[in-house]
């Protein structure tokens, strides 16, 4: 009995859910009475998990009574169908009987139920295996999260260092990677992103123009909407919006792809062959994104300006030529340069956070999901922080 293990089939056990839902279930009944010093429990009806089962307080009370019964025994002649519902109740009674040092006589129970109870107590619970829930003090929680945040920072900086070394190997031709891979990533991070970038940029341009027109028209300066849209798009909005789209689209994909490879031991397979996973997986992705993001940003600026022009021309008294000339006169080459510099930084940050989370991913399906989420959150936070820092630098430099 003690060596029995799950997997054996027991006759008389109904454990399917469908069974429980069958109509015409007889109500479970429990009668407890004392017969010559023993507690006799009569079980009747169907004892099923999904059906309401009688409470055990009465049994508990009788077990605790003085004089206590010599034994508890069962009469299951009227018992109908049963499943785990019965067995868990019986186990409760068994434990109760043990605490009150009352003999548990299972002779009257169905054969299958007796064996299942024996099986449940066959292996002692492993000591320390059950996780005890302890309340962590608030200060400890704060400290732990601060430590975790610091560790995340350290990991990211380490990863940036590794990626930099890898770029060095790339430049000197010592890195192992597949050229076809790079082109595939270029296509994925470039051409395939055009539809979503178009949509978002046009809409952003339109929103800016709408806000601009309603405010500036009051001063009779409606035509300056063209300046507002062009400068905002080229200097800030196009780089930031493109980068955020890429964080949600490409950064997440990088984290999920690399994370799944980690789960599947594909990264270990690379390492054992002496291929550096950073060289093989990270650098081609980073290069593809950094190459493509300036092109996407310029495209986004153009689409934004077109969106702005649609609203502007519809709402102010200006000819098409006037609007275009106003737009051209408002932007300098420096504006384009600062925008492109920003987006290259953002692209590198998005690729790095995506790949870093992928490489640091745990080895379960849940870990891949967490890595993807973290990659996107981290990417967006880094974009916004970098945007603020760069804008301040550019303003102070007067460009």
């Amino acid at each position: 009995m003690a060596t029995a293990w799950p997997g054996t089939s027991y006759s008389g056990v109904h454990m399917t859910v469908a069974d429980n839902q069958v109509e015409g279930t007889a109500t479970a009944e429990l009668r407890a009475r004392r017969v010559d010093g023993t507690l006799c429990l009569t079980l009747g009806g169907d004892w099923l998990v999904n059906a309401p089962l009688p409470p055990l307080q009465d049994v508990s009370r009788q077990l605790a009574q003085t004089p206590k019964p010599d034994a508890v025994r069962f009469d299951a002649t009227e018992l109908g169908r049963w499943d785990s519902g019965l067995v868990t109740r019986l186990i409760d009674i068994y434990r109760d009987a043990q605490t009150h040092e009352v003999r548990f006589d299972d002779g009257g129970l169905p054969e299958g139920a007796r064996r299942l109870i024996a099986l449940a107590f066959a292996v002692k619970p492993r000591e320390g295996a059950a996780r005890t829930q302890r309340k962590t003090p608030f200060v400890q929680k704060v400290g732990k999260s601060a430590q975790a945040a610091w560790q995340t920072g350290v990991d990211f900086v380490t990863f940036v260092g590794e990626a930099t070394l890898s770029i060095g190997r790339f430049a000197t031709g010592r890195a192992t990677y597949l050229k076809s891979d790079v082109w595939q990533h270029v296509e994925e991070a470039g051409v395939n992103a055009l539809p979503i970038v178009s949509l978002i940029s046009v809409l952003i341009g339109m929103i800016f123009a709408f806000v601009g027109v309603t405010q500036l028209r009051a001063f009779g300066a409606g035509i300056y909407t063209a300046n507002l849209v062009a400068v905002a798009m080229i200097r800030e909005m196009a780089p930031i919006m493109t980068a955020i789209i890429m964080a949600g689209r490409t950064g997440a994909a990088y984290a999920a792809e690399i994370g799944t490879m980690k789960v599947n031991e594909e990264i270990d397979a690379l390492t054992t062959l002496g291929i550096n996973p950073i060289d093989f997986l990270v650098t081609p992705r980073m290069m593809a994104l950094v190459l493509m993001i300036p092109a996407l940003t310029m495209y986004a600026s153009m689409m934004g300006i077109i969106g702005g022009a649609i609203v502007g021309l519809a709402m102010i008294d200006a000819s098409f030529v006037q609007y275009v000339q106003q737009t051209i006169s408002s932007v300098a080459l420096w504006d384009l340069f600062t925008g492109l510099l920003m987006c290259v930084v953002f692209g590198a940050l998005v690729a790095l956070s995506g790949c870093q989370q992928g490489i640091a991913c745990g080895t379960s399906a849940m870990a891949v999901g967490q890595a993807t989420t973290r990659a996107v959150v981290m990417g967006i936070v880094l974009i916004v922080v970098a945007a603020s820092v760069l804008t301040i630098i550019f303003i102070n430099l007067g460009i």
């Binding site: 192992t176 490879m261 031991e265 594909e266 270990d268 390492t271 054992t272 062959l273 002496g274 291929i275």
Partner: protein, 259 residues
């Protein structure tokens, strides 16, 4: 059936090895020798650190103490560049095959060749076709890993592990998830490779049928005492090991307590 290689030279020596994750010790004081041409089994109950030991042996995880020596040279004391050179002689078949899912089978087998040799594309293609044919996957060159069955993935993984004609092949649970016939075929393939190429083979498994039919040397890891309980020929250990736990494991829990 297994040929006698009793006097062969030591290929891998593990000395006083301790492995841990942080402060948590997995296994300590491991000492065993894998001879050239051995089919060496790393066995033990679930969760005893078999796969971790394999990771330490193939250079994926550093030990917290002790040495792993290949032909007398300490792997973990060597410089990174030297480690990389030593790894070149390893072939590893991971539990699920671990084929690179973005590449076809031929590309999977070709990558190590591209990494380490100066062969032309045509020569590489011929070699890949040959390696895939060896494991019974001729004609599957252009299939992606997602398009083939689990057993085929394992065999393709083996073709990749053999791409560089390794001195030593490592297998992580080769028969896990395979039907008995496929598992037997894989065992036969492993034996065939050892006999024809003289490759040393190290296998992590708890599949008794495999252990007895191909293994000629073994180490038994115990999760309770966190160290090895026995090392030697698995059949010998089953019949004559003084340790009850080892005999009981090798007899599928039917050993009788002696003494």
């Amino acid at each position: 059936m297994s040929q006698s290689v009793g006097n062969a030279e030591a290929h891998v020596e593990v000395r006083d090895l301790t492995m841990s994750y942080g402060d948590f010790v997995i296994q300590k004081n491991l000492n065993f020798t894998v001879r050239r041409g051995d089919i060496f089994i790393i066995m033990g109950g679930s969760g005893c650190g078999k796969s971790t030991l394999l990771k330490v042996m193939i250079g994926l995880k550093s030990p917290s103490a002790g040495d792993v020596c290949y032909e007398g040279e300490d792997f973990w004391a060597a410089e990174l560049a030297r480690q990389k050179e030593m790894k070149r002689k390893f072939g590893t078949l991971f539990q699920s095959g671990a084929l690179w899912s973005g590449m076809t089978l031929a590309e999977n087998v070709a990558l190590p060749l591209k990494q380490y040799t100066k062969l032309s594309d045509l020569e590489i293609r011929d070699l890949c076709a040959y390696k895939l044919a060896l494991v019974g996957l001729a004609g599957f060159e252009d299939f992606y890993p997602s398009e083939i069955s689990g057993g085929m993935k394992k065999r393709a993984g083996l073709a990749r592990a053999m791409a560089m004609d390794p001195d030593i092949l490592f297998f992580d649970e080769p028969s896990a998830g395979l039907d008995p016939i496929s598992a037997k075929l894989l065992d036969d393939l492993i034996l065939e490779l050892r006999d024809s190429l003289g490759t040393t083979v190290v296998i992590v498994t708890h599949e008794l049928a495999s252990i007895f039919s191909i293994g000629n040397n073994a180490v038994f890891l115990d999760p309770v005492t966190k160290t090895q309980l026995a090392t030697g020929d698995p059949k010998e250990l089953r019949d004559h090991s003084p340790n009850f736990v080892v005999r009981n494991f090798l007899m599928r829990g039917t050993a009788e307590v002696s003494e």
